[in-house]
């Protein structure tokens, strides 16, 4: 009696139950793994948005602002103290920056789209730099794989945003629009004279 073993039916039933349990377990674990990947990707996207927006706000908000310039030099230096150059879907400005190989100081910066990346380039702000040589500037990619990068400018509170802006004129507000992964980031609006 104790040596009887299992019947075929019993073995088949137990194998079926076991395989059902295994199927449930494995599919549950797979769901866990894929949602983990999704969560990480989304967190990274959120971090990137927050980081890049805040960085640009800080860097443009601390730009050497136009307006009444109090010059301390007695010789009446003719070198303009402010610098802002609007281009189509790019712009350059002057701001203090505490990163980079130099411990700090003023830099000429340019934000533009290069291929599908949003790139920040910077040069040390030296005397008599008339035409910044951007191709020799240090470059750093801020955002990869962007599908849209648009800039718009305006100088009056209720005025319209304009994408074409005279290069010599410093606008009061800059608006940056970035689209990545098919989604538009919230427009980054910065008050330059703040």
């Amino acid at each position: 009696m104790t040596q009887r073993g299992f019947t075929l039916i019993e073995v088949m039933v137990s194998i079926t139950i076991l395989s059902l349990v295994m199927l449930l377990t494995v599919s549950g674990l797979r769901t866990l793994a894929s949602s983990q990947t999704r969560i990480e990707a989304k967190t990274e996207r959120n971090d990137e948005l927050r980081l890049v927006s805040t960085f640009l706000r800080d860097l443009l908000g601390s730009s050497v602002s136009p307006g009444p310039v109090v010059s301390l030099s007695l010789g009446g230096g003719s070198r303009p103290d402010t610098y802002f150059e609007a281009m189509r879907d790019a712009f350059a400005w002057k701001a203090p920056m505490t990163m980079g190989e130099n411990a700090g100081g003023r830099f000429l910066l340019r934000l533009s789209r290069e291929d599908s990346a949003l790139v920040l380039r910077w040069l040390p702000d030296e005397e008599r730099v008339q035409f910044p040589q951007w191709n020799k500037a240090t470059a750093k990619t801020l955002v990869d794989d962007i599908t849209t990068f648009e800039t718009a400018y305006r100088s009056e509170r209720d005025g319209p945003w304009s994408a074409d802006w005279p290069a010599q004129l410093t606008p009061r507000w800059v608006r940056i629009r970035v689209q990545k992964d098919g989604r538009y980031w919230p427009d980054i609006v910065i008050d330059l004279a703040r």
């Binding site: 927050r50 706000r57 509170r157």
Partner: protein, 127 residues
């Protein structure tokens, strides 16, 4: 007798208990990952709302002398409102009326059944 008991195998009840424990722990794992997914989605909306509020605050960094109010909704479903009122002036203040405004930027959105909201406040010059 002892040897026979030791090689007896599992009873049906034991197997059922073991499988149900497995099922319960898997269920708990899945639930926590669902919560994490939802929290990340909430976080994303908060990031959007805060960036939108910062942009609105920058956009209205200068308001008319007698105050200003505006509101709207983005295509992403965020409702925003901007409200600027002149700050009360002290008796000895040398600033003109409406020189400084209290500004409030509020962004709210619907997250499932919940209504979420971000509010930024600042002081801006009027002109």
């Amino acid at each position: 007798m002892f040897l026979r008991r030791a090689s007896r195998g599992f009873s049906l009840l034991e197997l059922l208990v073991a499988i149900s424990i497995l099922g319960l722990s898997l269920g708990a794992l899945l639930r926590s990952s669902t919560t994490a997914t939802r929290n990340v989605a909430t976080d994303e909306r908060y990031v959007y709302a805060v960036e939108l509020s910062k942009s609105l605050l920058a956009q209205y960094s200068q308001v008319p002398l007698d105050g200003f109010a505006n509101s709207g909704e983005t295509s992403g479903g965020f409702r925003w409102s901007v409200d600027a009122r002149p700050l009360p002036r002290g008796e000895t203040s040398r600033l003109g009326p409406g020189a400084l405004h209290d500004i409030r930027v509020a962004v709210s959105w619907r997250d499932g059944i919940r209504e979420r909201r971000v509010e930024l406040a600042s002081v801006v010059p009027g002109e």
